[in-house]
Symmetry: C2
Subunit: 209 residues, 2 copies
């Protein structure tokens, strides 16, 4: 492999390392701009490889986008994972704060993914929906009173709805910060607590305990 | 204007009447299928007019779609308008029941508009967003304790979030009715009551009174 002139040097990576490098680069670019604004040329240039080699790893731009979004979703899930060393109430607040920080750091791409042209791609939306379902499961698993089997469908619907509530409010807030970050966190925490109260008074009481 | 052969007879309508007839037809079709599945030929045939005349009223299919969605949104707003003869709690329940009935009657088009390919059209989404904002205003206007000016941004965000909550749950429910209509109505009513409690304890108490 010939060395490129100037600063960009090609580094010999294993196929797995190269694939990972390209995804990491895509996720980093995703922090700066919308998915649909990331071009093949940008990626190839920043990775110091040819467009041809990029297509060797990702035959279509859609394949690349899916890999990048899957990676970004995994990062988000990792960031919001409950800290089991905390009490339940603090755990909820802590996870919500980390969610707000994550989307604030990646506001361009988060807005674009959920409300931009990318949101019309069924494959991308399926990935985003899988992440939402994983968060629903995460929340249900932390409930202090386990869901009765026959009540599970209602809880799943309610928590899915709450996630839509959180996304809508957070996206609106990212576009125009009409309240403080502290007020935003309070609103999201309180809304889940009172929703729990609506779903099951005993559950609501346990959460507030 | 020549009469067509067979059953389809052309009726002479004023331009306004014709325009209204075409929109009404579009809204009716929208109850049966998704917006993007309604073709120029369908409309022209059912209205008993030529494709050319249709384009005289709506120069592009997008113009026609916008007029149809604007009309459908106005219908939805009319259907959910609070009945002032009822007490506040019954008013909320009644409006939510009428919302569920409306979207159940128009499930294909409602799902398509909010989650289908149409949801990628910025102009259509702007119309849908205007309807959401009108519903936010409707809800805030019914609040038993008026919002303080400095607290309004927080209430607007919360009610917008609640509308996303309602839409997400209702769309999931339309796809798979995992709970009864009664349970769905209870969940949506209770969620707004408890959210009000989270926003302002005095407000929550007044709503439950």
């Amino acid at each position: 492999m010939a060395k490129a002139n100037g600063e960009t040097k090609r580094i010999r990576l294993s196929p797995d390392e190269r694939r990972q490098q390209l995804i990491t680069l895509g996720v980093r670019l995703l922090g700066e701009r919308a998915l649909e604004e990331i071009s093949v040329s940008d990626i190839a240039e920043q990775a110091g490889i040819s467009r041809g080699l990029l297509f060797h790893y990702f035959p279509t731009m859609q394949d690349f986008q899916l890999a990048v979004v899957a990676h970004a979703n995994a990062q988000l899930l990792h960031r919001v994972r409950p800290d089991d060393s905390l009490e339940l109430f603090d755990q909820l607040r802590d996870s919500i704060e980390r969610y707000i920080d994550y989307v604030s750091e990646n506001r361009q791409s988060y807005l674009a993914l959920l409300r931009g042209p990318a949101s019309a791609s069924p494959d991308l939306m399926q990935l985003v929906d899988q992440t939402r379902l994983a968060i629903v499961e995460m929340i249900l698993a932390q409930m202090p009173i386990p869901a009765q089997d026959d009540d599970r469908p209602r809880l799943v619907l309610a928590v899915r709805g709450w996630i839509a509530f959180v996304e809508e409010i957070t996206l609106s807030w990212l576009r125009a910060e009409t309240i403080t970050r502290e007020q935003l966190v309070d609103l999201l925490v309180e809304s889940l607590l009172t929703l729990s109260l609506a779903l099951n008074p005993a559950l609501g009481a346990a959460l507030r305990a």
